[in-house]
Symmetry: D2
Subunit: 366 residues, 4 copies
């Protein structure tokens, strides 16, 4: 129990259900003196807001955030920051019949088993709306990272079989693509594919890639709180994520040491750098000063309009057609969630790393 | 800092360096009344012991475990169980020169940056010997799982390009294969491949697959301590692991909802089961009562005898030949480590799940 | 940082400032199936509400609680329960001048040093209003304890020099006394004393005693999470508490082993009991099945109307008269806060104790 | 379960029983670069070693510590430091009969109830020998505090009815007194008292006072991890401690606001200081830059040779005479344990405080 809190020094606690009164988060451990207001947070939330293109759920939520505590005169005070988003466009009636059966791919069955019953309206706590709290917290983490010139950028690498072509990629494209793809050609191909799958009442999955630049060297805590280990937990805790890999990832399993090792080199500026980055910016679970690169696999949306076989609580085999308003693919709106969970993890681990050397402690206190 | 402790209710703390006096672990939260002695633990440790075939390091360590606390008359008492393995066959001299340069693929560089210096002998804390503590703790976790009829089994799925063929697989083969492969044909092919790569002074990676059966439904704590999220952290915290996926994993990204959803069905015994298991035994981050399946990518051993380019502390580009006794591939000895970290995580989360319903609490106290 | 979360399995996170928009708490780890609604919580909150007698602050707050998540059809779902109380009767203007100086006995000075600045309105996060979140969470904990027939009762033992006389005490008196004293004679004497001190523009302290009955034997986790250790932290974390003692407490320091040891005896029902209870219901940090008894010392309200010497931020010695609406004594309203923190701690530790024996685990899972 | 770990960033895990093979501790989160070796640790351990005067147990243990990990060339490496002390002079036979009954004042009864059985030899995990791990860890914490010019000093304030007279006190006396009293006159009076009580086969309690100087302002994490709250937990977790108070403590309950508030003043050096220190160096749970002062009540040794009434496991009322070698009073040897737990807590909270301001973070990373 009590799995709604994440982080050690930078700690977030999310709460709220899809069709409850509101969704929110408490962020504790925010250092005092950071510029913060609702406009800053809202920009991040707007990136995951539904209804921004024909390719997302039709549920219409403005998702306006209210900061209830922890700031004073536009700055964080060091006290916990409580943020809330009221739910507005709930169609709970859509969900009345799902109370009686178990949707394939959803957690209806496991929640009933664990808790004895469940809040079935819109998936309750398992809804994608739960990520609102993650993104609001991630916004604060991202503002802290900015102060340290650390940048976290995620984007869609593939949808179904359509992959981005790196030679076509531009950062500025990400915001232009309804699928958060940096390659607009690929994005257009995806557009067609999604329309087809919507017609077929089916859904699509994809891969999100995330690149972190500007990380200081040595962040991560051996041996269990390695930076990649904690990032893996953070990202895997997002609903619908089924896998994660760093650097060459699963390809490393097929390569040899001489291929996969990244030789160190003294670069033109006299700095230590690496010739390649198969390691994905991590050596021994610590950031190595190069870009941290990871990819996460997102499964296709479980809620599809197509007829599906399943069982009901009475123990009967039945056929269902899921109503409600669902995204034909989760990937594009999950991009900012991946960035958020990465940012939260980075801040927490940057904080933890501050006591690695006795000199750092003396620097703060003397 | 303080990253050497893992788990909440079942908590392990590992310590020790490759060429220090000893390696050990303290396991806290072991319920009282469990049969435990050194023989039981030793069986698990023997599976990761070096020197068992020509394909592992020549370092000769018996790795005999001593239990120092927490048992009385052959049973756990509820007190922390401290276990120690003395290091014996240390060749520290092999490592004198690595003090001056950074080995590619190793954490030498990041440790120096983080801590200001490092115990360079045999990789110090980043050595594979650190996993001794994990396996000794995993042995206790596995004994607890046995009481609940839960089984954790890992094996090598592939080495380089050689994959097991599931139709050839038998559990009993795993112990017969020097690579822990359930398919002896594949194992023989690997044997040849490894001999070749050793000759080339190179190394190999591979994929470990793990299957957990017998799990009760509903284990996992939404939303951050999902069972897959915590397993991902546990497995990714093992050195050399570069990725993890559950069920259909990265393939899910290419499939559609109608392909990837596992339909529920009432089976011949009147129980709810699933027609397929693309979910890998987890729905919404909770165990769904079917087999939990995950795969982890293991990179090739970083220490290779082949000449490599790197830099030294003086800021010069140099060429090195790593001495010492190294495994040509990490995978086979990592199998038991993967099982151990999985078992530890399962026990911790089974314990956490016990308070999910008010009825459970009443059952214990009334 | 991140000190706003308390508890392991039953975990509360409080937020909010005296003169911010609202005060609240998220309670995570509440087992599913507990009857819960706003009326139940409100009853506990009403006990700490201001304005209930002439002896509390004149700030008029209804402190109406709203449950935002975690319940469905009147029962807890296992999801985090978010509760909020809007601030209404704020007179922020009263606090404008305290921005420039440091009030004796308050945390103005230490907050400025720690965070660089502070939300000075009404003490911000250090206000007594912060305890609203504790009481709302304590209400849930108390409902869980009721299911196990465990009772937590605190009351005022003394104010200034006036002590209750145990021979006059009745539980039913506590609610009748404006000072939560079980002895109405003592309560009347206190009434006079408080009037006198108010006239003198001064304030009073006192001692709260808490008695816990019905605890199962053996709750508490050696060696650091002893039940008394965790209760001590919980109670000491309440503002204005300056000391805590269990059983004979500081008197034990003056007694001998033969006086202080509580002999065991087989009672008339054939049960093991103790002849005396100098231990206060705890042996080795574990509950021993008898009443747990502790006392907490509450300092006099720091905000007094009387002229006081202090310093301002400009580095000058000044004299001040604190305006605002303050309680002449904190004790009576702190009684329910003490009960709440005790209840929260008991629930957390009852949950932790559930895995003490392997048999308990088998009982839940088989 | 799992109560053997204490601390967040500076984390200690103790293990071992009185009559097991050894006692030990793992200290994780020690910053790299601290001078550390066995001689340094041993000095602290020698202060709690038995057999140093006629007033302690006759058990003869050299308590020689061995560092097994985490140091390299005389400095901490950032890796966990494992320390072990082998038990040598065990007389387990002394304890055979206590297996069958419950000693008054001891945890025999509660351990049996919690765990189903217990390691009865010498009290097992509840023995005073458990504190060896605390002191070894405290030694490391104290070395860190030295780097920051923070000093922790505890001493015996009273034994039975005999109090120190502050006008007689000198720091240098503490080491001269067999009871760690800074007033040698009082110490001599205690000597007589202890001889008398030993003759009577009885035991004595007392009060330990601890003074911490040099603390930076603002250390402590509102609202649950206040510095006094965490110190209270740390000290109360030591066996035999029955109460703790800070500054004026329980006396504050009898005073008024005008008496108990400490006026701020600009001192002769232009610094902010306080005229008095009733607060005990803490305002709002944060260190205020003045001396932190607390007192802990220690109960008389439970093991007395005098005949006592109790019950056995067969459910009979019996009379017992406890054999074994016991201290007639615990206080003197507990002094260094109090210092140790205070030092560990201070280091942990100094580390946590480092992220209170965004400026601190920028200072470390830019």
């Amino acid at each position: 129990m009590a799995g709604s809190t994440y982080g050690n020094l930078f700690k977030i606690t999310t709460w709220g259900e899809s069709h409850g009164k509101a969704i929110g988060v408490v962020v504790d451990g925010v250092p005092a003196g950071l510029d913060l207001n609702e406009e800053i947070i809202q920009q991040y939330l707007n990136r995951r807001r539904p209804g921004q293109s024909e390719f997302t759920t039709e549920r219409n939520e403005s998702d306006s955030v209210e900061i209830l505590s922890g700031t004073f005169e536009g700055k964080s005070t060091g006290a916990p920051i409580s943020m809330i988003v009221r739910n507005k466009d709930q169609h709970s009636a859509d969900y009345d019949d799902i109370a009686t059966y178990y949707r394939p791919g959803h957690a209806d069955y496991t929640f009933d088993a664990k808790y004895g019953f469940r809040d079935y309206r819109g998936g309750g706590r398992t809804s994608g709306r739960e990520t609102i709290g993650r993104v609001a917290a991630g916004a604060i983490a991202s503002e802290i990272l900015k102060k340290l010139n650390i940048n976290v950028r995620a984007y869609t690498k593939s949808i179904g079989d359509i992959n981005i072509n790196y030679s076509n990629c531009q950062i500025s494209n990400i915001a232009k693509s309804p699928f958060s793809m940096p390659d607009l050609e690929a994005s257009e191909a995806v557009e067609e594919l999604v329309r087809l799958k919507k017609e077929e009442q089916d859904s699509l999955g994809g891969i999100i890639e995330c690149i972190i630049s500007g990380m200081p060297i040595g962040v991560g805590e051996p041996v269990f709180d390695k930076l990649d280990a904690n990032l893996a937990k953070a990202i895997m805790s997002i609903g619908a994520i089924k896998g994660i890999e760093f650097g060459s990832g699963f390809m490393a399993a097929k390569s040899t040491g001489s291929q996969n090792n990244d030789p160190f080199i003294i670069d033109e500026n006299g700095n230590i750098s690496k010739v390649t980055n198969n390691a994905g910016g991590l050596l021994g679970g610590l950031s190595d000063g190069t870009e941290i690169v990871f990819r996460a696999a997102v499964k296709p949306t479980s809620s599809i309009a197509m007829t599906q076989k399943t069982v009901n609580k009475a123990g009967e085999n039945i056929e269902i057609n899921i109503k409600g308003r669902h995204d034909p693919l989760i990937v594009p709106r999950a991009v900012v969630v991946v960035e958020s969970m990465a940012a939260i993890t980075l801040v927490d681990m940057l904080f933890m790393n501050m006591t690695s050397k006795i000199d750092n402690i003396v620097k703060i206190y003397k």
